[in-house]
């Protein structure tokens, strides 16, 4: 949430509504919240996954760059499950079962999100048509 406030300030110097509320909460004590996995390959895949999961408390950040305790718990969960041999997509699915699509920054192709994937295709098509139209009559250039 701190990040959002900073970004907002960066863009428009909006009055910050007080300090972002910070609960009187201890840092996450989950074992892997602030500790990396020993296996670099597993840590890398955990890191990649964490960058695409949304922090539920701060809402504008991925869990890979948040100090919120729940983000720490989620990081630990991701690392422990990766270490136990689960694939990143299994973990993502597990979280989506609990929090809905909201928790994943990487939209899955569903009945709700198909336009997100259709639009680039449509844009490609429009770009192609525009360019072709523009250049279809090259013979006319003197």
């Amino acid at each position: 949430m701190r990040r959002l406030a900073v970004m907002a300030a960066l863009l428009l110097a909006f009055p910050l509504p007080g300090a972002p509320a910070r609960a009187q909460e201890e840092q996450s004590t989950a074992p892997y919240a602030y500790r990396q996995l020993d296996d670099p390959a597993k840590e890398a895949s955990a890191q990649d996954l964490m960058e695409t999961l949304r922090c539920l408390q701060c809402q504008g950040q991925s869990i890979a760059d948040s100090d919120a305790p729940i983000a720490g718990s989620m990081r630990s969960l991701v690392r422990e499950r990766i270490a136990a041999g689960e694939t990143p997509e299994q973990i993502r699915t597990w979280l989506i079962e609990r929090y809905g699509d909201y928790v994943s920054y990487s939209p899955q192709l569903t009945g709700l999100t198909w336009p997100l994937f259709a639009v680039p295709a449509i844009l490609m098509l429009i770009a192609f048509l525009l360019l072709r139209r523009r250049f279809s009559s090259r013979g006319e250039v003197q």
Partner: protein, 182 residues
């Protein structure tokens, strides 16, 4: 030389159409701001299995199997460091007095702090499980404290209340519990 060919008519009006779509969309967003809380996707599904150790020495911990004992329960996720949890304490006490079994899950807490908290705010809980690294909280699809789940006698989650329980919510929760009984 210039040519007279221009874009087709529909293409000329396309930007305006897209813009009107944008205005309509943000009007909806402005006047019907969607609820920004993240609800659990587990409502209507069975409670995931968990077995938490006792949060206080000498008190029982929380095994999710006790939730399926045929009676509806409230499962309250709370913590001693959470201010709204103090606000909802009288309402929880009232519910406990009305005979509602309330199970607690305390998140990232210590026995000492928890003890003080219960001393100051009353203790409506039958059992309190200690969720020290927040894993059960994640398993339940909860994104903060306090949250309260209504679980029916078969261990199904029928309702999730996010934020503190205010006095006006008590009757609604009792109704949900009665519905869960049927």
């Amino acid at each position: 030389m210039s040519t007279q060919r221009t874009a087709p008519r529909w293409a000329i009006w396309l930007p305006l159409a897209l813009f009107l779509g944008f205005v309509a969309l943000v009007m909806i967003g402005l006047y019907r701001p969607a609820d920004r809380v993240v609800t659990s996707a587990l409502v209507g599904k069975p409670m995931p299995h968990f077995n938490l150790p006792p949060a206080l020495p000498g008190r029982p911990g929380l095994d999710s199997r006790v939730l399926a004992n045929g009676k509806p329960h409230l499962v309250n996720i709370f913590a001693s460091w959470c201010i709204p949890c103090r606000v909802e304490a009288p309402q929880l006490a009232a519910l406990a007095k009305a005979g509602v079994p309330i199970e607690g899950i305390s998140v990232r807490d210590t026995p000492e702090n928890l003890d003080t908290f219960l001393e100051q705010n009353g203790d409506p809980f039958q059992r309190i499980g200690a969720d020290d690294d927040g894993k059960v909280q994640l398993a339940l699809g909860s994104s903060g404290v306090p949250e309260t789940y209504v679980v029916d006698g078969k261990g199904m989650i029928v309702y999730q209340h996010i934020g503190e329980i205010r006095p006006e919510h008590v009757a609604m929760l009792i109704e949900k519990l009665q519905e869960a009984q049927e």
